[in-house]
Amino acid sequence: MTGPIASSQSPISVRELTGRRLARFRSGDVLVLIAFLMLAAIVICALIPATLAPYPPNQQEITLRLLPPGWMSRGDSAHLLGTDQLGRDLLSRVIHGARISLIVGLSALAISGIIGVAIGLLAGYYRGWLDDWIMRLADVQLAIPYVLLAIAIIAVIGPSNVNVVLVLTVNGWVVYARLARGQALSLREREFIQAYRALGARDWRIVLQHILPNLLSAVIVVASLELAGIITLESSLSFLGLGIQPPTVSWGYMLADGRTYLLGGAWWVVTFPGLAITATILSINVLADWLRDVLDPRLKI
């Protein structure tokens, strides 16, 4: 490029560049804010569903079955999102469904996270046969499709709300174990770990006090990304009838329940629980990305 052209173009392109960067920055920020508000609303729904919902979730009004949403011509403004095939208020059910999704998601996340990190730490720090066995087990488990595994386990122990958490935990620990093992492997070779050994620190103290806190930020980032996956998985299990059992309201089960009426034109029965799932997962993912950038910009996951 020749001199004059370059100099005449550069101010414009610089302004363009900064403008675009600012716009991108802002839109990203707005996105995070929206995601945050959305998730906050979902959490509030999960905390006080009975206060927010206009009707009890399982109250049937068979004369008002398959009522379209309130804004449509045949709709009833008392049932804003319409009703399902048994005349239950969809808004109330969507609000109540938030609770079980978050409870199951968070507890499965916590249990699989704690178990996975503990196992990964031991494997990574002590190496040897323990490491070999645990990691082979993890490899084997990763080779089995998770829905298949879930169906097999549920078939044996039977479907129940607690068993859903169990299945999700069995599926989830591997990610944390591998992450924690990798981090522990690299951390144990760091000089400060050796320095603590030379100062006479016990093994368990090195693991708990120095290796664990150093890998925690990576675990938090992965956990936040995993949460969306766990909720999706819970919804899929419930959709298949292997997950949350009625009368507990779950979005996945609502999808399964309503899909037969889709062809009859009652699109709202499946659309609103589906939207709720999408909104939850989308907002969690956006926030998780943001959290990753904030906590550990170097981390690439």
Binding site: E191, F192, L199, R202
Partner: protein, 325 residues
Amino acid sequence: MREPPLLQVEDLRVEFPTPKGSVRAADGVSFRVWPGEIVGLVGESGCGKSVTTLALLRLVRLPGRISSGRILFKGSDVLMLPEPEMRLLRGGEMAMIFQNPMTALDPVFTVGDQIAEVFQAHPNLRTGDVRTAAAAILERVRIPNAKAQVNAYPHQFSGGMAQRVMIGMGVAGRPSLLIADEPTTALDVSVQAQILDLLRAIRTELHTAIIFITHDLAITAQLCDRIVVMYAGQVVESSSTRDLFHAPRHPYTRGLLDSMPRLGQKRARFAQIPGQPPDLGALPVGCRFAPRCPRAEARCRAEEPMLTPSGDAREVRCHFPLEAP
């Protein structure tokens, strides 16, 4: 010398298994350290300095192992101690500080918390409040404003200050022996001088013996009472600093001294020792230095020399040691 030695290493061997067979990173290392003495451990990279000192604390990493030898510390064999007692010895009577102070401190904790770790491992050391004790340690290593610095994180410290903290943690247990693995290599020269001053002061105040690992002979000349020179996993010469610099007996030591720059020197190139240290997995027959030695003769290539006493408290591993000039 007047007292029994504090540390007596005899015929220490550390082996690492490799696909090509076992490699001896330390092969029959013997040396002694007397109380309150600063001993320089000198040699090229990979000659076994660090492995030897890690073996003193039994911290050689797997798959490496100490295959034979004795380490007598205050009269008892370190290699025979049960692990709980060994753990109390580390950071208690025998402490170690490392090369890179910025990576030798845990980045997620404050300096004070890390010093408190020493008291966790050695509850008997603590007198009174942990914070006060930690501040006292920072004061001992001359960190200004110690009371406030207790709450600082390692990244807020310069390399020199971080190394002071490491030294402080090392000497918290008033050890009889402090092992310093190249503690000044990562620091610039003026900070290096301060750290050396600090080590000297600690020796005087606590009567701590120090093993100072380095490949910088200039530092040993300033700091050390005696020097142990290692080559290819063996001690090749040990002597008082003065004698070593004035009249090296081993050709390798001589080569090292000749390759140091001197003030006012007009030569365009430094003298150098030709060749490379031998591969520990494929050692030459006879003397390990023979392939690079200007004085090597047939005997050197056939028969391995022993570490033999030579003159006043000196030892040298050479069939044809150099005479005094």
